[in-house]
């Protein structure tokens, strides 16, 4: 006796856990998760746009510091956000696993007993004709699950509703696993390369690179690629881009025979679970810098960053190898125009009439101070400006300490390289989630009972539809008319 009471108490507890705690808590957590996601769309996020975050710090230092303590700039990796979804998934697992077991058991079990009083159920009707055998045949034809007792049949259909429901929720767990695997074993990096340059997939080739917690830095795919051509197409009237096409020569592994491939915005290059994306592009002016003696001190392409849709680009050229050191703050204007308000600017993103505008500085570049410096900015704190100059293509300008020649330009591309071994699980989870959802929302779950009338011929028929799904009435009517037809 004790064991059964214990069992009873246990199943009661699990029933309570399932019905009350879990579902209501899950609902509250679900809504909470929605609300918790909002601040991340209001405040700039470090994971998306670190520059905007530092701008925010500059413009409102007080508020920013306070917000930072609440992790408002790292919402989606913050402990409070994580704790909500972890709790939600614990609640989800606590809810779904027992139900899955129960459902599996239920697959082999027969439908429940026919209730004593059918007249309380939906669409109750009594007919003078028909037999249990005929009713059973009809149920079988219509693929109901049947429990045949001495004087009644209990039939059930729509078992897949719960199956779909469980598949959907289990798939959500699979998606979460996929996200977890991706963040632990993934890798993501950016590299800007000039067209003509070769990129070898090793950590030092990257401008920015980050690894998952369990991902070793030695496991980068050993490929190399050389950007051989980049073609950007623009709308003539508006300058809006319509196509970017990057041609690369790929060697996988490094040193093997090169194959020519094309990367576009929507079609990355794939190496196993690693993909190479074309993310941005711009121009690198080609310059030659000579000292007083005419000796070349710097020659090459300098990456400039685009500032507007017409690719007016800015950057810095640093020549530490001169005495005193020389630096240039530059603007590359692909299609030149000038007016009094804006100064020099570009009117079209393609190079039609290029200019290189430089402000020339001498002094100490500050490269030896040990502080990290941006390659796109000149630290002018220990420098003096000599002059401003606008250079035409192939023009050389002598600035006393030496000369600068604007030789030409080459496009650069920003490659984003991402390894995400977890995304296949997330994708599978998503597919199963949708299938489960469709199954559970469009399967009608209902029961129909047929009972021999007490003390006489004929049958009593009634049913019950879960969630008052429509259509049961017609189904019972069909059964009734079948019984009547058989009786004739």
């Amino acid at each position: 006796m004790t064991t059964t009471t214990e069992l009873g108490a246990k199943s009661l507890a699990s029933w309570l856990w399932r019905q009350l705690t879990s579902m209501r808590t899950a609902l509250i957590l679900l809504l909470l998760l929605g609300f918790a996601a909002i601040p991340g769309s209001i405040f700039p996020q470090r994971s998306q746009n670190p520059l905007k975050v530092s701008d925010y710090f500059k413009s409102n230092p007080g508020t920013a510091k306070f917000l930072d303590q609440l992790q408002m700039f790292d919402v989606y990796s913050s402990p409070w956000f994580s704790s909500i979804y972890i709790l939600l998934f614990i609640s989800l697992i606590g809810c779904v696993l027992p139900r899955t077991l129960e459902h599996l058991k239920g697959a082999r079990a027969k439908p429940t007993l026919t209730p004593k009083n059918l007249s309380r159920m939906e669409f109750h009707s009594e007919i003078d004709l028909g037999s249990l055998d005929a009713a059973e045949a009809w149920f079988r034809k219509n693929r109901f699950r049947i429990r045949r007792d001495a004087n009644s049949i209990s039939a059930e259909k729509g078992y897949l509703r719960e199956t779909g429901n469980l598949v959907f929720h289990l798939s959500l767990i699979l998606i979460l696993i996929g996200i977890g695997v991706g963040s632990l074993y993934g890798m993501k990096g950016d590299a800007i390369i000039n067209v003509g340059d070769r990129f070898i997939n090793i950590p030092t080739s990257y401008d920015v690179i980050s690894f998952g917690k369990l991902q070793s830095e030695k496991t980068l795919n050993p490929f190399s690629l050389t950007a051989t051509d980049f073609k950007a197409t623009y709308e003539l009237k508006t300058g809006v881009p319509s196509d970017y096409k990057l041609t690369v020569n790929v060697a996988d592994p490094v040193g093997s025979k090169e194959i020519s491939r094309i990367i576009r915005v929507n079609s990355p290059l794939t190496f196993g679970s690693t993909k190479v994306y074309l993310q941005a592009n711009g121009y690198s002016p080609l310059v030659t810098i000579r000292d007083k003696a005419g000796e070349i001190k710097y020659q090459g392409a300098v990456i400039f960053l685009p500032q507007d849709g017409n690719l007016t680009s800015t950057g810095a050229i640093k020549v530490p190898d001169m005495n005193p050191q020389v630096g240039f703050i530059g603007s590359f204007v692909p299609t030149f125009a000038r007016n009094s308000q804006r100064g020099a600017f570009s009117t079209y993103p393609e190079v039609l009439d290029p200019r290189l505008l430089v402000s020339i500085w001498t002094g100490d570049l500050g490269l030896d101070s040990g502080n990290p410096q941006s390659i796109y900015r000149l630290d002018t704190s220990a420098m003096k400006r000599i002059e401003l100059k606008t250079l035409k293509l192939h023009e050389t300008h002598n600035f006393g300490e030496g000369s600068i020649t604007f030789e030409g330009w080459t496009p650069w591309v920003n490659l984003q390289i991402v390894k995400d071994p977890g995304k296949i699980y997330a994708l599978l989870g998503s597919i199963f989630a949708i299938l489960g959802l469709l199954l559970s929302l469009f399967t009608r779950s209902r029961r129909i009972w047929v009972k021999e009338r007490v003390g006489g011929l004929g049958l009593e028929i009634a049913g019950l539809a879960k969630n008052s799904a429509p259509g049961l009435e017609n189904e019972i009517a069909a059964l009734v008319s079948e019984m009547r037809n058989l009786g004739k």
């Binding site: 899950a26 929605g34 769309s41 996020q45 905007k52 995400d420 998503s430 959802l437 929302l441």
Partner: protein, 296 residues
């Protein structure tokens, strides 16, 4: 014909659709207003008097739908692509999906009473579209050049249309509910369905469209993976799509599992729908993420 000609034709079709929606609006307004009669000092409601006006409204609505459809298709032909490249195009297609959802629901559930709010909502949407959001027909930026555009955006737009319709019904529910708890419906509302019918209808629409919205979000994630290098990045639009999804998931759970009905469920539905609208209007125009394709 040249692209420009098609673009003009599209504009004419949209203008014509607006005229037809206006007629539908007037017809439905007349249907409601002129069916009121005073009999023995009591205001009564007799829809048999204005049945023709109501029929006219429905016919105009269907015609307007056809013109709107033509407008959307011609817009696509003029740009040599699916017509979902900027907010003007999202809006006219959204209005089309919304009208389509109404006509479908009209055929299935007899909800002609919704004609008046639907006509108003569509006219507002199209009015905003042609005045503020209009942009000349143009090719797509590279990031939008993908088969997923057709799949992801159409799923999102259709979901939006149905969400909006569900919201209209939920609002009607709340208004009628308030009247009923304050002593009864006013005359004009007597013809409208019973509260539990409205409640059930809202649920049907949401349950029907929730998988589609889930699909829209997932299709977006797959597309983002191929265009931006990650399937999920908490971009503001993604975040709000997620919030909408969570809110509707909460609505379905509240209704199916906990058994919420009526007022509470209607409010939750309304909240979920407003997260979608917020995402569409606010994030598209003032947002900073990668989904800023409004063309504004």
């Amino acid at each position: 014909m040249t692209s420009t000609n098609y673009a003009y034709l599209s504009n004419y079709a949209i203008y014509s659709a607006m005229v037809l929606f206006t007629i539908a609006f007037i017809a439905h307004a007349v249907e409601v207003a002129f069916s009121v009669r005073n009999v023995d000092e009591k205001t009564k409601f007799d829809f048999s008097r204005t049945k023709r006006s109501g029929n006219l409204g429905t016919v105009m609505m269907v015609l307007a739908f056809a013109f709107l459809l033509a407008g959307v298709i011609l817009r696509g032909i003029s740009a040599h692509r699916v017509p979902w490249g900027n907010m003007y195009e999202f809006s006219i297609t959204g209005a089309l999906a919304f009208t389509g959802a109404y006509i479908f629901a009209l055929w299935k559930y007899k909800i002609r009473w919704l004609g008046l709010p639907v006509a108003i909502a569509v006219l507002l949407t199209l009015g905003t579209a042609i005045t503020i959001l209009y942009r000349p027909s143009a090719p797509l930026v590279p990031a939008l050049k993908s088969t997923w555009l057709a799949i992801h955006v159409s799923a999102a737009i259709i979901s939006g249309g149905v969400f909006l319709l569900a919201n209209c019904i939920a609002v009607t529910y709340l208004i009628l509910d308030r009247y009923e708890s304050n002593g009864g419906r006013p005359t004009w509302a007597l013809k409208l369905p019973a509260l539990d019918v409205l409640d059930q209808l809202t649920y049907r629409l949401v349950a029907f469209v929730f998988p589609l919205w889930t699909f829209a979000v997932i299709a977006g994630a797959i597309w983002a993976e191929s265009a931006w290098g990650r399937y999920w990045g908490w971009d503001p639009k993604e975040t709000w799509a997620f919030i909408t999804w969570v809110a509707y998931a909460a609505y379905l759970h509240a209704r199916v599992t906990i058994g919420w009905r009526g007022r509470k469920a209607a409010w939750l539905c309304l909240f979920a729908g407003s997260t979608f609208l917020f995402n569409y209007v606010y994030i598209n125009i003032w947002g900073t993420g990668r989904h800023t394709y409004s063309g504004l």
